[in-house]
């Protein structure tokens, strides 16, 4: 009875805290400008099914893809077991699904155990890749202490959770063999039965092991749930909406700025009467609130895997630019803006901005707009859009383009070509041999 009470309190607190933090992230994302990403729902569902659910873009790196798939499937399917644990916790039952599911229950528990082992293996491999082999992809200027620790905390937590799950099953299995109290024969234990020999034979000790593991596992899961909003691991949730709201245009296409269209039309045709949108705004992005909500959602979706940076031609050749840093900076800045709102109210400005305080001009000007980063991202994040918006601000609001680019602009304006050649010579090629 007391156990049920404690469980319900802990569960309610965990769910409350989690929803509060998720609501905060949602609020932060919606600080971004509006953009319509709701057209073509059928295609959007398809993209989400393929990219997020089917993980098709992970396959470019097969080892990581297989390992990640183990953890992904393990996570989703073992959640069925968590459902049972929740119900048992609330109603004080034990393995409530075993009766209604009958033989299927045994199969399911067996399958969960196999998955748990696969998750364990994958986590250990991932820990080795990060800490022993030290894959280049997991380092870089933006991979400071916190992002590195974050990754390790996630993997270690998953190892602990799976270990607790298997130990709990092993104790349960042993108690079932002893026909002890309510531990009736239920489930099959292909993996944990192998662990049984290392556990005590005494029934009351086994009950303690089983109960400790049960509580550790479920409280661990609830803590992990509340860790998500602070961690790169939030991608397990945001990957789905983020791919649903993917950019469906060809990658080469950049948005045309409607505010500029109005002004250009007015310039070319004096009789043109612009629609008053009543939205002054600024050209391009100086800070995160000038970006769209989709850019901000992408920042919270990024799991810092570094595939973007590892294929970025600028980064490969030693330039400062790293697409992953663009996303991490955007996320850190929008989180800071959100915290400022919570602390100091809606109209507070800390005098900082994404461009300058987080992302330097040297970074944005190193981009070749080649789209290698957007192609590489397993969850369709687009760092290029943010870079372009920052360039737009630097050029159109600050007139701070590199001098050579200003020359190029001047040439286009004066002679219709980015180089200093006369328009009249444009057709000379036809008379050459």
């Amino acid at each position: 009875m007391i156990a049920q009470f404690i469980f319900i309190i802990v569960l309610a607190a965990a769910v409350y805290l989690f929803s509060k933090n998720v609501a905060k992230i949602r609020r932060n994302i919606l600080l971004g400008r509006d953009v319509n990403r709701s057209d073509q729902p059928a295609l959007r569902w398809k993209v989400m099914a393929k990219v997020a659910l089917g993980q098709t873009k992970m396959t470019k790196r097969p080892v990581a893809a297989v390992m990640h798939f183990f953890i992904y499937v393990g996570f989703i399917i073992i959640n069925l077991e968590v459902l049972e644990i929740m119900i048992d916790g609330i109603f004080g039952s034990h393995r409530i699904f075993s009766n209604p599911l009958g033989g299927l229950y045994g199969f399911l528990i067996g399958a969960f155990e196999v998955l748990a082992v696969l998750v364990l293996v994958a986590c250990v491999v991932f820990l080795c890749r990060r800490n022993l082999i030290r894959l280049k992809r997991f380092s870089g200027t933006e991979m400071t202490q916190w992002p590195k620790s974050d990754a390790n905390y996630i993997l270690i937590t998953e190892v602990l959770l799976m270990t607790a799950f298997l130990t709990m099953n092993a104790a349960d299995y042993k108690l079932q063999l002893l026909h002890f109290e309510h531990y009736v024969k239920a489930g099959s234990f292909p993996v944990s039965s192998l662990l049984a020999p290392v556990l005590p034979n005494n029934a009351s000790a086994l009950v303690i092991v089983e109960r400790v593991c049960w509580w550790f596992h479920i409280i661990g899961i609830l803590c992990f749930l509340n860790y998500l909003p602070y961690s790169k691991h939030f991608h397990i949730l945001l990957a789905f909406p983020n791919t649903y709201y993917s950019n469906l245009n060809p990658k080469g296409k950049l948005t045309n700025m409607a505010s500029v269209t109005t002004e250009v039309k007015a310039m070319l045709d004096p009789s043109f009467v612009p629609e008053t949108t009543g939205e002054p705004g600024r050209f391009g992005a100086k800070d995160v609130t000038d970006l769209t909500w989709k850019n901000l959602m992408e920042a919270y979706t990024c799991t810092e895997c570094g595939r973007c940076t590892s294929v970025c031609p600028a980064n490969i050749t030693g330039k400062l630019l790293s697409p992953r840093k663009i996303m991490m900076d955007t996320r850190d800045r929008i989180t800071e803006v959100g915290n400022n709102i919570d602390k100091h109210g809606k109209d507070y400005h800390d005098g900082k901005a994404l461009l300058g305080d987080y992302i330097s001009r040297e970074e944005i000007w190193a981009c070749t707009t080649c789209n290698a980063c957007t192609e590489a991202c397993p969850v369709n994040i687009n760092p290029l859009e943010i870079i372009t918006e920052l360039r737009r601000y630097a050029v159109m609001e600050e007139s701070q383009a590199p001098a050579s680019l200003n020359n190029m602009f001047g040439n286009i304006e004066n002679n219709g070509a980015p180089w200093k050649y006369s328009q009249a010579d444009r057709f000379n090629w036809a008379s050459e041999q």
């Binding site: 045309n256 250009v264 070319l268 080649c370 789209n371 190029m408 602009f409 180089w419 328009q423």
Partner: protein
């Protein structure tokens, strides 16, 4: 010139309009194709192909101007839209419906970014045109240099490949010549940029360990290619510079798909 083939008269839209004629397709030459020495040769080669197959085409000549692409990628949306609107006026004035470009950047801009500003055209890149002509049986691989068995690799321009998913047309044009088409380790959607996109062509690179074209040329050398085929005037410049810098001009040729097609057909 004694060679009659070289006396090609390039028709302009203005002349055609004066005669009350409309060509089937506009050849959009682009700034590099008009001014860059190497790209001008490719421009003439594209015209040779158009002549050879007898398509009714024209160019804008001195009326053509920058599409605005480099300005847009560099963040100058004003300048881009000014150029775009003027170009759309010009194209619509000549009632142009179909365009072939010699440059993936012009291709991408006119195809993807002009419709939002009122310019709607069917746009293809010259490698797509070459593929179509081969498929229609209008272009053969005869009468010229044989590329049979030659180790050729193809460098995907970002704005043709990743930007617009055109991966097969240029390769089909090379395979048609019975070449030994080899792929670099980074190819198709994983292709490495030449380093010139996003207005980098017009500025010095930021400080780093090396230039991007050197990184790319290392891929070409590793693939042991005799020819690296390009389909973009900027890639052409970057690859040629990179190969020169590695002192490999004797072993590795950089040729546009149009140049290869012209050579293979002896045009």
């Amino acid at each position: 010139m004694e060679n009659p083939k070289s006396e090609i008269k390039i028709p302009t839209m203005a002349e055609m309009a004066a005669e009350g004629k409309e060509p089937e397709i506009l050849f959009w030459v682009g700034c590099a194709g008009s001014f860059d020495e190497r790209a001008r040769k490719i421009t003439r080669d594209i015209c040779k192909i158009l002549h050879h197959v007898g398509i009714s085409y024209a160019v804008l000549g001195t009326e053509e101007g920058c599409t605005g692409d480099p300005a847009k990628r560099a963040g100058n949306e004003f300048l881009f839209q000014m150029q775009a609107m003027m170009t759309i006026q010009l194209l619509d004035g000549y009632n142009i419906k179909k365009i072939v470009t010699g440059c993936p950047h012009c291709f991408n801009t006119i195809k993807n970014e002009y419709p939002g500003l009122g310019g709607n055209y069917e746009v293809i890149h010259h490698t797509q045109l070459i593929q179509q002509l081969i498929n229609d049986g209008k272009l053969k691989a005869e009468g010229g240099e044989s590329f049979k068995g030659k180790r050729i690799t193809y460098h995907d321009p970002c704005y043709l490949g990743r930007g617009n998913n055109v991966y097969e047309a240029p390769r089909a044009a090379l395979e048609f010549l019975d070449t030994e088409l080899i792929e670099m380790k980074r190819c198709k959607s994983n292709g490495l940029c030449c380093g010139a996109g996003g207005a980098q062509m017009f500025k010095e690179p930021e400080p780093g360990k090396k230039d991007i074209n050197m990184e790319r040329v290392a891929d070409v050398i590793e693939a042991k290619a005799q020819v690296v085929a390009a389909a973009c005037p900027f890639c052409m410049t970057m690859l040629t510079d990179g190969i020169k810098h590695q002192d490999k001009q004797q072993e590795i040729q950089v040729l546009d798909i149009a140049e290869i097609t012209v050579k293979a057909n002896g045009l």
